[in-house]
């Protein structure tokens, strides 16, 4: 017969775990609200900026600016955005998986990585790809200025011809329970075709080149900024869902264990009773 004390111990430890997952869920929920708001208010700016840029670039010659230089080269830099912490379901492993796919697709190229988040580094530091730079602990101190800094660094790598193509891999926030891994080309900037719209006779102040220069940089920074915000909101969402599931599993397990505990306890009592009755019968006889 199983030892009752062991079962009791297990129930207790499962209860502790449940308490922890519940607390983590609550923390993520409150962080999520802030992160979600940040990304939802940042999106319109990004979309509008993209529209304006498309209009402008459609009119300009593509070799007007080095950041638009769509050259053939085989040095690829991947900007991989993961979280600093785990316990958030498939959040990090999905990113890693997509990154590996991307590496596989570009296996003829020279791949290097820019890694944000400790979890990404944990995985890739023992792999054979050079790590250009890393950004750990970003979930704490990320802000627009940091995006500017990263943007400048990446732009420099690109302009100085050390990298021919830069991709970003990150989680996009779809809803609280859904994230989608996105891969996006950051540099060179490829404008979308704009349909319709009379592009002739635009007035530029001060002039095309100056606006283009300004706008491209702003666009790139905004892209990076947005990717990090998306990732942050996704992380909290993923953690919340994961912890919710964990709490529910713990509850189920506690239920099962308690049932088992009670049954066993009853069985013990029944057994003892039978022994006493048997003993009494034996004495009578």
């Amino acid at each position: 017969m199983p030892n009752l004390r062991d079962v009791k111990q297990r129930i207790k430890s499962t209860k502790n775990t449940q308490q922890m997952t519940k607390a983590m869920k609550l923390v993520s929920a409150s962080k999520l609200r802030k992160a979600q708001e940040a990304i939802q208010t940042a999106r319109p700016y990004g979309h509008k900026l993209r529209d304006v840029l498309n209009h402008l670039v459609a009119r300009c010659n593509n070799d007007l600016h080095p950041l638009l230089d769509n050259r053939t080269g085989n040095r690829v830099l991947l900007v991989v955005i993961t979280a600093d912490r785990g316990l958030c379901g498939g959040f990090n492993s999905n990113i890693v998986k997509m990154t590996q796919e991307l590496i596989e697709e570009n296996k003829d190229s020279d791949i290097s990585l820019f890694i944000a988040g400790k979890k990404g580094l944990d995985f890739f530091q023992s792999r054979p790809y050079p790590i250009e730079d890393k950004y750990l602990g970003w979930t704490k101190d990320f802000g627009y200025l940091k995006a500017v800094e990263i943007g400048e660094m990446l732009a420099q790598l690109f302009v100085e011809n050390k990298s021919d193509r830069i991709y970003m891999v990150y989680n996009e926030f779809k809803s609280i329970i859904q994230q989608e891994v996105i891969r996006e080309q950051l540099l060179p900037i490829v404008p979308e075709e704009v349909d319709g719209g009379d592009m002739t006779d635009y007035i530029f102040e001060p002039d095309e080149e100056a606006i283009l220069e300004d706008l491209l940089k702003e666009y790139m920074t905004t892209q990076i900024y947005r990717a990090f915000l998306e990732s942050s909101a996704s992380e909290h969402g993923a953690r919340m869902t994961a912890m919710d599931a964990a709490s529910r599993n713990a509850k189920e397990m506690i239920g099962k264990l308690t049932l088992f505990y009670n049954r066993t306890r009853q069985a013990y009592i029944t057994k003892e009773l039978i022994e006493i009755v048997n003993g009494a019968e034996a004495l009578k006889g």
Partner: protein
């Protein structure tokens, strides 16, 4: 012929104004202030920090914006600004402090060109905010 403008003013933090029928928009363009009405020619400009306003019927709404872009196409005015505040949101005390700090910086000689420009920008932003107070 449309006679109304669609105005969208967004910053990184929020959508400040989205209004589908506006009569006139006044923006602080790179080379000077501009008034934009319906059927304006397509335009793309960098914005100076300064006063931005738009008219809707008899009402005129004023804001202060800092560096950004404005695009006009097909009666749509899109303003992308680093920051935008309605007049009542402006913190004059903070602007005054910012102005003093920027002026002090500018008085120093031997500033690098970039630092000088930055200080100048700060001063312009502070001035733009303060200017609106006097006219209140």
């Amino acid at each position: 012929m449309a006679d109304k403008l669609f105005l969208a003013l967004v910053t990184r933090e929020r959508e400040v104004v989205v209004d589908p029928d506006v009569d006139q928009v006044n923006i602080p363009g790179f080379d000077g202030d501009m008034g934009i009405m319906a059927d304006h020619a397509p335009l793309l400009t960098i914005l100076r920090p300064g006063r931005f306003s738009y008219q809707k019927g008899d009402e005129e709404i004023e804001l202060v914006i800092s560096h950004g872009y404005a695009e006009v196409t097909n009666n749509r005015v899109t303003i992308l600004a680093e920051s935008a505040e309605f007049l009542h949101e402006i913190d004059h005390e903070r602007a005054e402090t910012a102005r003093a700090a920027a002026e002090k910086l500018l008085e120093e000689t031997g500033l690098e060109e970039e630092a000088f420009k930055e200080a100048q920008d700060k001063l312009f932003r502070a001035l733009a905010r303060l200017e609106t107070k006097k006219s209140d």
